[in-house]
Amino acid sequence: MTAAMVPAAPAARRPRGRGGRALPGRLLRLELRHSIVPWLLPLIVALFWFDSFRGSLGGPPLWSVRTFLSLGQGHDVIDFGPLVAGAAAWAGSREFRSHTTDLVTVTPVPRWTARLTAWAATICWIEATFGACIALMYWADAHQVTWGGPPLWPVAAGAAAVAAFTTLGFALGALLPSRFTAPLAAFGAFIALIVSSHIGFDPRSSPYAQILPVNGQGLINYDTGVFYPFQPDVSFDRLIFTGGLILAALGVLGLPRNSGGRTLRRAAAAVTVAGLAATGTAVGLAGTARLEAHGIVIPALHDAASDRPIPYTPVCTSAGIPVCVHPAYRSYLPDVTAALSPVLAQVGGLPGAPVRVTQVPSSYLEPQGAASITGSPPVLRLPLGDLGLPIPVSDDAIFKAQVRLVFVHAFVGAGQGVGGPAQQAVQTALLTRAGVPLSAQPGLTIFSQTPAPAVRAAAGRFAALPAAARHAWLAAHLAALRSGHLTLAQLP
């Protein structure tokens, strides 16, 4: 050890050479070691756990719903966005804060290269954290979900959105450095997410709103990825959008005169233009988005293969009238069977009464899709995914009441509305006899209002009839009831 500065022993001049390919790797290693992001990891992970992770695990055991509750609505981006934008702005403004601008300026490695290396280190930490959080969440989900696999396109779109917040924050820090840049970047990201949430969750928003990362408009319903594949069009479009933003921001970093030579700056300009073009294209594509039965479709990005149904073998009960559900809903089968038994028992043997119950996919186009009884012999086609599945799977009275309601609704032929007064009265009576008290019925989805007094009175009379009398009346009048020609006065 020495405390004195010593002249070097005379030595042959070292040959000069360029850094070559190993340079970015070694610089990246140094940048990774000194990134600010690891200091923020506990906060980011805590936010993710509190918001996305708990939300996902609290959902029904379906990949579609769990992904929707965490990634589909953009909770992941909300958890990561502001913090990573601030951290990246801090990293981007490092030279300014540390007063090393002159030292770095007089080095031969282009500043664009040096900045891209610092950006790469920041993004590596952030994306690794994002990936670990998602992997952990999906690992926990996989222990409860019994069928299928997680949709990965929303993960890619989320990762790209997080990368975009990182890159925009970094560019802001590098190009407009000040002590306030990092908090301003974080606050700006927070405001952007609030605006995105405000527009993205508004059902009156235009199709262009689909491009926003925080968005709850029709991306996923319960049966997404169950009967039909997840439609990746919107996720892919968001990937193009955020990828374009990332490219544009990285390109802008290389535009200042001190960023490098003319060739490098031209390349940076080309990257910027390409990024902006991609962003504009993605926005344009979002404008063509339309809602179809299995999800949002963007024609230019749509793959017809994702319209093909996913093959499956239904899970059925063997006792009584068979009830069959998709294997993804296996855990709901006992509840569905138990819910239907009291109403099926009331109508069993009637001409037109279902001899089988089978689950059908719910549709994006009919969010409150009604069940139907069709075919010969008649089959109750039940869109379970529309019924607000209980969390966790349990003896949930509301869920069972909903199942009974959609059945009696289909049975009297009420269609999409609440049905005529006579149909309402019969539905009310059947529900009452099946154990759903009249007072609870207005809370059910289809009966959003309390039936009129005359309907309630007729329902009371009909419910008070002996079971055999009701059965006989229904056998004689079911066709007329379904056609909507009966009046309340014609009920017994």
């Binding site: 050890m1 020495t2 405390a3 004195a4 500065m5 010593v6 002249p7 070097a8 001049r13 070292r14 000069r16 050479g17 360029r18 850094g19 070559g20 190993a22 340079l23 790797g25 070694r26 610089l27 140094l30 070691r33 000194h34 490092r94 030279e95 540390s98 007063h99 090393t100 601008t101 002159d102 030292l103 770095v104 300026t105 007089v106 080095t107 031969p108 490695v109 040096a114 490098g260 030579g261 003319r262």
Partner: protein
């Protein structure tokens, strides 16, 4: 000649920080003296290619730094210690020097040995793994010198390199300067005339953007002869004499 300057000027708004300087320097240690605001730092920053000149001709290491490719080649062979050294507090001394070695485009395979050599030469061998935030001002200055010399520069520009160094370190630093000056052009801007006297083969004295004197330290000392210039050491009296002559209008560029 590693440095060739003709009528070099640098303006900041209406202020002319460097006003028509001419210099030609080969290998050796060259001292740049002058009072505060004389233009030393601006001249050094132009030589370091941090800022471009407003007018005049500048050639460094036989190249014109006005164009990108030659400037890049110059920077590959340049070492620079700014007056206000910035640093990354979380880096260790070795990492700090390695970082700039990599940015100086050194072959990565040679970087570890070069870093070790630079750190040893500045007497920081036992502090190589210490975080910069834990170092004293003098040690930070030495870390700055280490990053400046890590690429064995042909042109080394040091702005107030001995600020914060204790007397023992300054003596050692002068020895290092003399060693470096055997093959490279070393330009040292300083207020401390004893550094110039001990280490520099040539010296220039700047005031108000102009060079008032250029010669050997002995010649500067000789300027005090026959005057009542103030100063504790002969070189200081020469320095004062040149400045006093300039203020009374009798001084002349030598």
């Amino acid at each position: 000649m590693n440095v060739e300057i003709a009528d070099l000027t640098r303006r900041f708004g209406r202020t002319e920080a460097v006003a028509g300087v001419d210099l030609a320097l080969g290998a050796g240690v060259f001292g740049l003296l002058g009072p505060n605001g004389a233009g030393k730092t601006s001249l050094l920053r132009m030589l370091a290619t941090v800022i471009p000149p407003s007018s005049g001709t500048l050639r460094l290491l036989g190249r014109d730094p006005g164009s990108y490719s030659p400037r890049r080649e110059i920077r590959r062979r340049l070492g620079y210690l700014p007056q206000n050294l910035g640093y990354y507090p979380g880096f260790t001394v070795a990492e700090f020097v390695e970082y700039f070695a990599l940015l100086k485009d050194m072959p990565p395979g040679r970087v570890p040995a070069a870093v070790a050599t630079a750190v040893e030469r500045t007497g920081l061998g036992d502090k190589a793994r210490a975080k910069l935030r834990t170092l004293s001002g003098g040690m930070l200055r030495r870390a700055g010198i280490a990053q400046a010399i890590v690429n064995e520069p042909d042109l080394l520009l040091l702005d107030e390199p001995t600020a914060g160094l204790d007397p023992e370190q300054r003596v050692a630093f002068r020895a290092l300067l003399r060693d470096l000056g055997q093959r490279a052009t070393v330009i040292v801007s300083t207020h401390l005339v004893e550094d110039v006297g001990a280490a520099c083969t040539r010296v220039a004295l700047m005031n108000q953007g102009k060079i008032l004197f250029y010669g050997t330290p002995d010649e500067l000392t000789a300027r005090a002869a026959g005057t009542d210039a103030a100063g504790d050491a002969p070189l200081e009296r020469g320095y004062s004499a040149v400045l006093a002559a300039a203020r009374t209008g009798t001084g002349a560029w030598s």
